[in-house]
Structure formats: structure tokens, C-alpha cells
Symmetry: C2
Subunit: 309 residues, 2 copies
């Protein structure tokens, strides 16, 4: 039997982010078992040298670290505790092992899932990631993590491979998620504002390439303006990050605000723009598609056209 | 009589920005006459070596470059064309001279003022500035300029002293103002969002100093988040830039949107927050006071307290 130091790793969820994480761990010489419901994702994982399993429970058998790279709290719950059709990862992984959970979700959901894991004898590291698929593939993610010292101790060697920046934000699950939600509030508002501003500029008759140049050197700049407006300038809405991600994340912010009686009017207006863009058929396109919504509404001629494919 | 090359300069408006511009020109060895209705501003200008005049017309007599550093279109119009009580700068400045107009205003107002100047034989450079009072004082402003080649030719030596970056955005007044309004839309939204997010973080029980550290290194960052949130962390709302500036500037964006039938829902929600903050008595305080509005509404304990002084 292997000693605990060479912990067995499972990665559940092999989409663009999860496949990047799994590939990075494989390149570092680790043995990685994995699962995803999508056959194409599974094929790429096997090509990279991963050991494919038939469900989350089989992938996690005897694993001391289970990395969950899915999108929602509901998906995370299904991976951890199973569904009608299959067992969950918690049932088969090593007692005293750690779940490294990366989905962006409400802190209350994190706390609930962490309690169930701990009751089953498994640690839970609240570890939302950011950086996108390129950084997942190169092992340069940023992780906003919180959890017990025991959870960190077991996860640290794996985090060191996956990420260049790991924020240790507290010793309780939920704190990492709270930081991530604050980031998502700002990121979502800045994308919506970037799309509103660049189409407004177009409506004013300005050269929007020049607007990009001037704004990125001015006080109106944001990380998202700089990152997303080039998609609008090129007319390329192939999804780096989809509209529906921000429908979800700003939806979580809205519900957190309702629960805490804390108004978030700017985030609320951005959420409505993502929702309108999704309703107009662009939910799975790049989140800069909010610019196409403005173009459709106002009859603007943007690069690549304003219509969803 | 002096040759045209050593053009005589007037600076009208000697507040924090105008005084900085005038002082920079004086340090560069230029003769500068000036006017401001506020006695304290005039005293500082004389201390710096400026020639104080009794009104805009007197300050501008025979000047070939008149730099107007006021806040609104109405103030600019009064400086240029006078009021019931005094003559304007256009009446006394040199024919063929140039007005360098820096107030942030609607492009339509710029076009109207420029036409009146040109009808009176004076060029108009649409030249909104950014950079704040520190950069005005050090001659490191950014100017988003548009105007005729003749206007640029006369203004260039002065711009070279005042600013480190001069964007030449087109040959018609109004283009510079349009660029500035796009910047102000984004800047205003980003300040409001920064205040919403940092108080939301506080409500979630997070260490807001740590939130600042994490967000400024993440995709949620903006120039304004990085610049304004330290005011909230220190509880220092002495005005670097006042709430009422964004009431004005996002008000202009709202009116431009109405005129063009172009919706700006995110900017509209930010405008309402600045308006609420101004209505709550904080209009002349720093624009990060939107955070105090959230704190007052929700009973949060922010550094320095949530009350306006």
C-alpha cells in the first residue's frame, strides 16, 4: 500500500478547467483518476495519461485528494454524495482525505456541503479558482481558499502544482466562496459596463479601436474592459467564459443580498443585462455578447455582426 | 510687440486643477495671467507668480491661448462670452488665438460653444483633462483632445508643458468630449461598484483589507477600485474628487442616452447611487462616500464611521 505522502488524486469534472488541472497534475508525474459525463472530455483525459473511471465514486476510490471542477453547487453535491443512479465520491475516498471544491457557489452552500463531508470523516477545502482555461492548463491558477489546517496540509502539495497564487483566507469553509463572490460581483459589473460603454462609444460615432487604446490607459480601465473588449473589436464571441456563468454568479450575489438584506443595485442591473443576453439566445456564447445585445437593441453595426450564431 | 511664438497665456479657473496647470506653466517660465472668483484661489495664484486679473476678459486681453479650467458647460460659456456683470474672454483675446477648454461636458455643448468661438474669429480646442490635482501640479495630465490643425498648432507648446499624454482624437471639437464621457461612464460605474462590493464584503464578515489585496490581484480589479477603496479602508473622505462631479458626469451620460435613444442601465444605477449619496449630504465629499451610503443604509461599521461630517 502507498504511503500517505504520495496521495492518490481524483479530478471530477474534465471540462476546459478540469482537464487543464488534471493535465497539469499528470505532467507533474502524479497518478490521476478522473470522471466526466461528456465522452469527448473523457477521451482527452485518457490521451493526457489519466485513468478514466465510470463514475465519481469509482474515480475517487481510496483517493486522499478529490479535486472537484464543476460549475454549480448542485453538481458539486451530486459528485460528493451521489444521485439515484450512482454513488458519490465521499463514500469511496479515504477517511481523513480532503475534497478540494472549486465551483463558484454561495457561502451557505459551501458550509452545508462542508458539514456533510466532515460528518462523513472527510475534510473540505473551499477553493474557488480563477484564471481561465489557459492558466488551468499551465498550472498558473489563482485559488481563494479557506478550510481547516488539516485540509490545507493535505491539499497544499496539489495546490502548489495547480496554482501560482493560493490565498489562505481563513480556517472555515465559506470564506473562500465569499471572496470569490465579491470578485464575481465586480467582474460581472465590469463586463456589463465595458459592453455598455464600447457600444455607447460606437453610437457616438467614435473609432472603437481608438477608444480601447485611450480607455485602457485611463482611469476608466478595468481588468475586464482590457480583457473582454478585444472580443467585441474582433467580433469573436466563441466562449472564453459564457454569458450563463454570470447569470449564475450574479444570481448568487442577488440571492445573497436578499438573504442578508443588503442591496446591490449596480450588480442587479448587470445581472439583468446578462439575463437579457441569455434570453436572446446567447447564453452559451462569450460573456462579451452583452455588447451584441446592445447592438441588436439599438441597430448598431459591430464587427462580426450583432446576431447570435 | 511680442512675436506670436511667445504667446501670451491666460488660465481661467484657479481651483485645484487650474492652479496646478497655471503653476506648471509659470515654472516653465511662461507669463500667465489668471482669474478665479474665489479669493483664496487668487492668492495662491499670485504667490506662484501669476498676474491676477479682475475678470475673464481682463485676464484674456491679447492672449493667444486661453486655458479654461472650470467644471461645467455653463461656467465655460460664462467665461467665454461673459455674463450680465462682465465681458467674456472671447471679446478681448487675440483674433486667431485658441481656447483650450477642459470642462467635462456633453459633446453637443462643445460643438455649440466651438461654433460661437469660431464665428468670433477664435479657434476652439476640445481638451478635457484627466489625472487629478497632483498630476495637474506636476504637468503630467492626460488630455483627450480634438480640434482643427490650427487649434492644435497654437495649443501644442502649451499642452506639451501641461500634459505627458495628449491624445489627438480628431479634427472637430466634440470628439474629445465624447471620449471623455465614455471614460466617465466607466469610471463612475467602477467607483459605485467598488463601494457596493467592499461594503458587501464587510457585510459578509470579510477582512476588507484582505479583500483589497485579493481583488487588486484578480479579474475583479479596476483602476477605480485600486484608487478609491483605500479611502474607504482609511475612512478618509476628504475630497480628491467629489460625489457631485459624478452626479454631473453620469447625469450628462444619462441625457446623452436619452437624446440618442441609447439605454445605459448600468450607468443609470451608478448615477442613482451618487445622487442618493449627494442627497444624504455628502455631495462635496470624496466620491468613495458611496460606501458610507451603503454603510448608513445597512448599519455597517466602516473605518471612520458612516456619517458625513
Amino acid at each position: 500500500m502507498k504511503p500517505a505522502e504520495t496521495s492518490q488524486i481524483a479530478v471530477i469534472g474534465l471540462g476546459s478547467m478540469g482537464l487543464g488541472v488534471a493535465s497539469t497534475l499528470l505532467r507533474a508525474g502524479r497518478t490521476v483518476s478522473g470522471y466526466d459525463p461528456v465522452p469527448e472530455a473523457c477521451a482527452k483525459f485518457e490521451e493526457a495519461g489519466g485513468r478514466l473511471a465510470t463514475d465519481p465514486a469509482a474515480a475517487s476510490r481510496d483517493a486522499s485528494v478529490v479535486v472537484i471542477v464543476v460549475v454549480t453547487a448542485a453538481q458539486t453535491e451530486a459528485v460528493l454524495f451521489g444521485t439515484d443512479s450512482h454513488e458519490g465520491a465521499v463514500a469511496t475516498m479515504r477517511r481523513g482525505g480532503v475534497v478540494l471544491s472549486s465551483a463558484t457557489m454561495a457561502p451557505d452552500d459551501v458550509r452545508r456541503l462542508a458539514e456533510r463531508c466532515e460528518a462523513a470523516g472527510v475534510d473540505y477545502l473551499d477553493a474557488p479558482m480563477s484564471g481561465g482555461m489557459a492558466r488551468a492548463a499551465s498550472g498558473e491558477l489563482t485559488v481563494m481558499a479557506s478550510g481547516s489546517p488539516a485540509a490545507f496540509a493535505l491539499a497544499d502539495p496539489i495546490l502548489a502544482i495547480m496554482a501560482t497564487t493560493v490565498y489562505r483566507l481563513g480556517d472555515k469553509p465559506g470564506i473562500g466562496a465569499s471572496f470569490k463572490m465579491v470578485n464575481q460581483l465586480l467582474a460581472g459589473v465590469h463586463i456589463a459596463a465595458a459592453c455598455e460603454a464600447i457600444t455607447f462609444a460606437k453610437r457616438l460615432g467614435l473609432d472603437i479601436n481608438k477608444v480601447f487604446e485611450v480607455i485602457t490607459a485611463s482611469a476608466g480601465n478595468s481588468w475586464m474592459f482590457e480583457n473582454r473588449v478585444p472580443h467585441v473589436l474582433k467580433g469573436d464571441y466563441s466562449p472564453a467564459s459564457a454569458v450563463d456563468i454570470f447569470v449564475k454568479d450574479l444570481g448568487i450575489v442577488a440571492n445573497m443580498g436578499l438573504a442578508a438584506k443588503f442591496p446591490t443595485p449596480v450588480a442587479a442591473s448587470a445581472l439583468q443585462l446578462f439575463l437579457m443576453t441569455s434570453a436572446a439566445g446567447m447564453g452559451r456564447d462569450d460573456d462579451a455578447s452583452v455588447a451584441r445585445l446592445f447592438a441588436q437593441m439599438t441597430g448598431l453595426d459591430l464587427p462580426g455582426g450583432a446576431k447570435a450564431k
